[in-house]
Amino acid sequence: MKHVDEYRNGRLARAMARAIAAEARPGRVYRLMEFCGGHTHGIHRYGIPGLLPDNVRMIHGPGCPVCVLPMGRIDAAIELANRPEVILCTYADMLRVPGSRRTSLMQARALGADVRMLYSTLDALKIARENPGREVVFFAIGFETTTPPTAMAVKEAQRLGLGNFTVFCNHVLTPPAMRGILAQPGVMIDGFVGPGHVSAVIGRDAYEFAAREYAKPLVISGFEPLDLMHAIRLLIRQLNEGRAEVENEYARVVSDRGNPIALDLMDEVFEQRPSFEWRGLGMIPHSALRLRDEFAAFDAEQRFALAAGPVPDNKACECADILRGLKQPQDCKVFATACTPDNPLGACMVSSEGACAAWYTYGRHRKRRRA
């Protein structure tokens, strides 16, 4: 594939691996968090951990919207789907995720709920138009990448005067989540590989706080393996030189200010919630979005009285320590025993982009290393 294979070149990868090994100082450990689940997946899929020296350790961040969604919100979605008048629409990733009673939307569908899998938010509007007698609820999840399409659907629904379309909004924000992690006690992270797609929307400048307030270097990276290796090398270089800056390795896609049209659209339709629960990380201030009052008519939380409330995570689960870089997936007692991708107990195992799921699927052949 043109414009893809160039970034997967094995010869360049070996050269990059040698350069990283030469630059990483044997006396220290480099703990680097890739925030984004897409990066976690890529790192394992291409076998990057095997190309890094032992003292360069990747910590898998919470950047998987499916993983960090608290179980109470999934319960609420199942509750909505079980209402006879509702057609619940969502992205495929959400279908298998279990709520607190170990049931998922896929199981709800098997028992008669009308749950539809979407590829585009505009498909939800089409379903709403075709089913005027039903309530179509779009179960919206994701970071800044999937938020603009949801905003667009709300605006379009308003223009069309659709009275039977609402959004169950679970959109979350990247920079506040990074702050949330950095503010946690005992956090052991030396630098961040910054998200690619999210940064295309919010821009490079949105991460200045990490460098300025927390003295952590951050390098925005693309999703191809050479992008990731390059970003890791740039982070090591910053740490060696004692710098903490925001660098943009993904300049072919990411600009300093992001995408103003998408940002304006988001700002027009959504506002920040005072606080929102992240599975594995707890409550994080200003870390999620809800619909503004002007669009209240399209807010499922206002249209339907939802009974489902917050639910505590399984006690055995060590997701919080894994997401803070204190532990590796294989340090968790339930990893690959009680907690597997087929039967996930904690946030990190829920989707293929979660830290534990990626380890389970791609990395079990590797030996355990100390965090």
């Binding site: 919207p65 389970y360 079990r364 052949h365």
Partner: protein
């Protein structure tokens, strides 16, 4: 058989409950559609079963139910698929498939024109493969209780004396071969679903593999395992074989034949071609020293032109399947958790 006065309306007509009711309408459907297209000597005897003699040897039997949406996709349809799928299951024992049975579950309201198109395609596939449909059954379910049509086919065949092809025979040192490009069927079917509007030129690889298998078995009677990587793709098949044989496997990404369009479509949808279904592919595990000879033979067959040696069997108590990535790293190729679904971001 009692003749109806009017023939089936194959242009405008629909399946109704009477077509499964055991009466005249059912007899007419059988005669004018199934008998017409599947026509062969055994079927013409119009018994409830087919009776035939078989040559001495090891009998092999396999059955496969086919449910696919959409029913018609680039490169095939549920009819041809139901013939190829069962022929391949029989062939994977090293056997020569002899006969097929076919059972149809039809949904009330299903257009007879579509049914005829499916039966024609099935008959064409069966004739081309030289494996006739010799007995069958039809049932009709109420509207809303089926998905148009489901087809179950069963096949029997005879394996040559001495062939001991079995999933538990992979040994360290064996080579892993595939007969061609991965993922064509799954991507062809997915790209033809209406809510996924991206155009590809990819056609399903649906094909009967028994002649390729016959050539392979003749040249190398000591083939250890054969399996067709259908649902769950190559990844599921290798994990099954590794588990049943209690060995590990290492494949090389660089050597996997995958078409550019399939790789592109998978990239777009967030799918991994290793997990995408095939319907005309086989994985062969063979003694290492036989690999190159078999590879040359496979490449000389029309269904093996893009054959490749993709890896080898190793000792591993964990029965892990690993892959050397083209990028230079190593990763596991695990079972799929549930079905593979497109990702969000």
């Amino acid at each position: 058989m009692s003749r109806s006065t009017r023939s089936l309306d194959l242009r405008q007509g629909h399946v109704d409950m009477s077509h499964g009711g055991g009466g005249r309408a059912m007899a007419q459907l059988i005669e004018e559609l199934f008998m017409e297209h599947f026509d062969n000597e055994l079927l013409r005897q119009q018994n409830d079963q087919a009776a035939f003699n078989v040559a001495a040897g090891r009998m092999v039997m396999a059955t496969d139910s086919h449910v696919v949406f959409p029913l018609f996709f680039p490169g095939g349809d549920i009819g041809s698929l139901s013939v190829h799928g069962t022929i391949n299951d029989v062939a994977m024992a090293g056997a020569r498939p002899l006969y097929l049975s076919a059972a149809f579950i039809l949904e009330e309201g299903f257009p007879l024109a579509d049914l005829e198109r499916i039966v024609r395609s099935m008959a064409r596939a069966s004739r081309a493969a030289g494996v006739p449909v010799v007995t069958g059954d039809t049932k009709v379910v109420e509207r809303g209780k089926g998905d148009g049509v489901y087809i179950t086919t069963t096949g029997i065949g005879v394996a040559p004396e001495g062939a001991r092809i079995s999933a538990d025979r992979a040994q360290p040192g064996d080579a892993i071969l595939i007969n061609g490009a991965l993922g064509d069927h799954g991507v062809a079917v997915m790209s033809s679903r209406e809510n996924l509007s991206f155009a590809t030129n990819i056609e399903s690889d649906s094909a009967p593999l028994h002649t390729l298998v016959a050539a392979m078995v003749e040249a190398c009677p000591d083939i250890h395992c054969l399996r067709d990587p259908t649902r769950g793709g190559l990844a599921a098949t290798l994990n099954e074989l590794a588990g049943q044989s209690e060995v590990g496997m290492v494949i090389r990404e660089r050597d996997l034949p995958i078409r550019e369009e399939v790789a592109g479509a998978c990239e777009l949808l967030g799918l991994d071609p290793l997990y995408v279904a095939n319907e005309g592919k086989l994985v062969a595990i063979v003694p290492g020293e036989a690999a190159q000879r078999l590879l040359a033979l496979m490449r000389a067959h029309p269904l093996g032109r893009e054959a490749a040696v993709i890896g080898r069997v190793i000792e591993d108590d964990h029965c892990f399947v690993q892959m050397k990535t083209a990028f230079g790293g190593t990763r596991m190729v695990d079972w799929l958790a549930a079905e593979q679904l497109p990702r969000i971001c």
